[in-house]
Symmetry: C2
Subunit: 128 residues, 2 copies
């Protein structure tokens, strides 16, 4: 079940987009899987259908969904594409992160160190 936090600063359509993208990229929504219809999902989440439409259309533009007028939206991502798509997503996020951090005058060493330290601590917490 998808969840929306209405009070959040990140807009509703953005929250939805991330969640759906994750489910597609992780294989939980396989290729040719039919998405809930715009109106169905809208009434489930108690938000405007147009917001759902926006999300679906954007995901279509990014190559994750395909629309068939009259019958619904379908997942488009083939299993073979999943790897490269995941890599591309990660690359984008990483590039943005690096540029922002470098902009603040940090060195690559500092970057790697704090990141790996945080990840170690995180995995320790997760196991506890």
């Amino acid at each position: 079940m998808l969840k929306i936090d209405a009070g959040s600063a990140v807009p509703v359509y953005e929250q939805l987009k991330r969640q759906i993208k994750l489910r597609i990229v992780s294989g939980r929504y396989p290729s040719d899987h039919r998405m809930l219809s715009i109106r169905q999902l809208a009434s489930e989440l108690t938000i405007n259908p147009n917001t759902i439409a926006k999300v679906y259309r954007q995901l279509e533009g990014e190559g994750f969904l395909m629309s068939k007028t009259g019958s619904g939206f379908f997942v488009k991502l083939e299993k073979e594409q999943m790897g490269t798509t995941r890599r591309k997503l990660l690359a984008e996020l990483t590039d943005e992160f690096i540029s922002r951090v470098v902009e603040l005058g940090f060195t690559p060493d500092e970057l790697i160190n704090t990141l790996s330290e945080k990840l170690e601590r995180k995995s320790a917490d997760d196991q506890t």
Copy 2:
């Protein structure tokens, strides 16, 4: 000299804030350094004084500046605080990055790998 890209998607006040913060944190603007007055900087950059005021006030709120009504804004960051402040900034950015990436289902290994690879490639480019 501070530079503003008027056509950029990131708002003017945000561009300014980042640049000034960098100069303070890197020590280029030492403690007790007097900033250009709101109106001076505004006329130099050909933008509205109120935008500068907003930047200064926010930086004051984050503990980088101090205002003295009638005489100007002054850098507040002591040399001893620079280290911890820098670390804190980096930690915030890193946490946000990690949470967004984990949200997309990536493993710590993938993360470290792409990051270090990108950094290596970057340093190679910078030297060329």
